[in-house]
Amino acid sequence: MNPDKPLKIAVASGKGGTGKTLFSTNLAAFLSQKQKTLLVDLDVEEPNDFLFINGTIEKISDQYKMIPLWDENKCTLCGSCSNTCKYHAVVQLGTFIAVFTELCHSCYACSELCPVQALPMQRHKMGKITTIDSGNLTFIESRLEVGEEQAVPLIHQTHDLVDTQYKDIPIQVFDCPPGTSCPVVAAARKADFVVLVTEPTPFGLNDLRLAIETMQKIQKPVGVVINRWGIGNDEVEKYCDQAQIPILAKIPFDRQIAEYYSNGELVYDKIEYITTSLRQVITAIQHAV
């Protein structure tokens, strides 16, 4: 591990609602007791970390993606743009060129290959990034506008912002979106270690296996946290043992945790076994990387 580079921990899950937000916010708050810590909410479609972090807003910046804008006066209706776009985001309809913003991947091909420059690229707001100062903890929330469909460009821009403006914060926790497709891959790609939060149920196990496969595909070391331990069965533990995936912590099912969570309260300093679990997890990660 290069001491000049921050330690980046991604928290992902496969299945939604297993406790990613609970774990990320509490891990970051716990770490910030001793050192400067960054928490980044990359679940841009449904960001929830802000409910648990108090602080003052330092900055809000609108985030844009670039999309083509049709210049009717320059256009010769040659059809090049419509033929070029693989996403059907630029379509010639008679004498009109329609641009479907939500389908555009900002590849610039239609714009730069247009022989008469009739499709200049322009900014389109897709979301915003909010930075919150909470003492030793800096919190960045990345939030997609309702109606925007693509999470990936916003996730990339958030990583870029972190790497240029917050690279001095030595430990960084990234709360990732659920699933196993492009958004979680984009969110976890920069991580040194991925914590997969699961629950000990058949759904939890099924999605954990997919999440492990996903992380192996992008060559990330992983460890598992079993949340709500005690419900369900022990198949997740058996699977992890067999696949030689380390179990970093087991957080027992406890109605008290669920109640704190429901009110937007952190538990790292309220429930002793949570404090112990968080310490175990961070020690294990530091050994692993």
Partner: protein, 298 residues
């Protein structure tokens, strides 16, 4: 029009883990063979664990393209790497290589390559299954390949297949399990829906995410109803959710108490309506309410 007789119900939640799939599968069991089931949570599909489909037919799903460089034709000019906005063409050991994870298949590189060394190839992004469930209904489900893109298109494929099967078999319902979030798979699952069932939980996260997914539904002007699962976890939050439902004129379908039967049933590969408990009746009443809403003239 024949398709007017089919009612398409999509179950969404915004937040994951609210009990969406357990409830969708229960409705599927109650609807029996009068419904076609579609699992549109294609990158973390779980409904098969409860409905035990037979994976009767499998189809490969191709969507999008991947750039491929023929190294024999490449003259190392680097134009492709310059135009690629996805940084998908790094130079490694004096060769330009396509990084498949980054390539979004836009084809810009193919168009500008002076030696025609780049071709675009169709890309496999998952599998679609058409199955019989344990209650005899047809289920369309899918598995997105690991780390693949285009989940929205795979969702559209699953939905279209389900619709065609429902039409051909004169079924009255299509029951769709959606994915969490508000992005392309969710939007894709909403196309053509007649009614949306929202499953939420009384936490600040649950309500926040419910509001965002409801804002997406509003854009499509689809009627919706809401189930508050684990309502007894936090009664104040439950009251706030009900307030939101009233303001937005969302049908309040039911309050379900926290019950370990959700995970117990899951372990037995059963839905909660296949086990005797007070919840069986409650979920039965949800299905009756939804049917009533669908057949009511607006």
């Amino acid at each position: 029009m024949q398709s007017n007789n089919i009612h398409e119900i999509v179950v969404l939640s915004g937040k994951g883990g609210t009990g969406k799939t357990s409830l969708t599968a229960s409705l599927a069991v109650l609807a029996g063979n009068d419904a076609v089931i579609a699992d549109c949570d294609v990158d973390a599909a779980n409904m098969h664990l409860l409905l035990r489909p037979d994976f009767g037919e499998t189809f490969e799903f191709y969507s999008g393209e991947l750039a491929v460089i023929n190294q024999d034709l490449c003259n190392q000019c680097g134009t492709c790497a310059e135009v690629c906005r996805f940084h998908a063409i790094p130079q490694d050991k004096n060769q330009y290589q396509i990084n498949a994870l980054d390539c979004e298949g836009c084809g810009y590189c193919e168009k500008v390559c002076p030696t025609h060394a780049i071709t675009m190839q169709e890309r496999r992004s998952g599998s679609v299954y058409i199955s019989k469930t344990k209650v005899g209904s047809t289920m369309v489900h899918a598995r997105l390949d690991i780390a693949a893109e285009n989940s929205g298109k795979l969702v559209a494929k699953v939905k279209n297949d389900a619709k065609a099967i429902a039409l051909a078999g004169n079924k009255h319902f299509i029951i769709v399990d959606g994915s969490p979030g508000i992005g392309c798979p969710v939007v894709s699952s909403l196309a053509g829906a007649n009614y949306v069932i929202l499953v939420t939980e009384p936490t600040m996260s649950g309500l926040h995410d419910l509001k965002r997914v409801h804002a997406v539904i509003e854009r499509f002007r689809i009627k919706s109803g809401c189930i508050i699962n684990k309502y007894d976890l936090n009664k104040e939050q439950t009251a706030e959710i009900k307030c939101f439902l009233r303001e937005e004129q969302i049908d309040h379908l039911a309050d379900i108490p926290y019950d370990s039967i959700f995970s117990e049933a899951m372990i037995e590969e059963k839905t909660i309506v296949e086990i005797e408990s007070p919840l069986k009746q409650l979920v039965g009443s949800i299905w009756e309410k939804v049917k009533e809403q669908l057949t009511r003239k607006n």
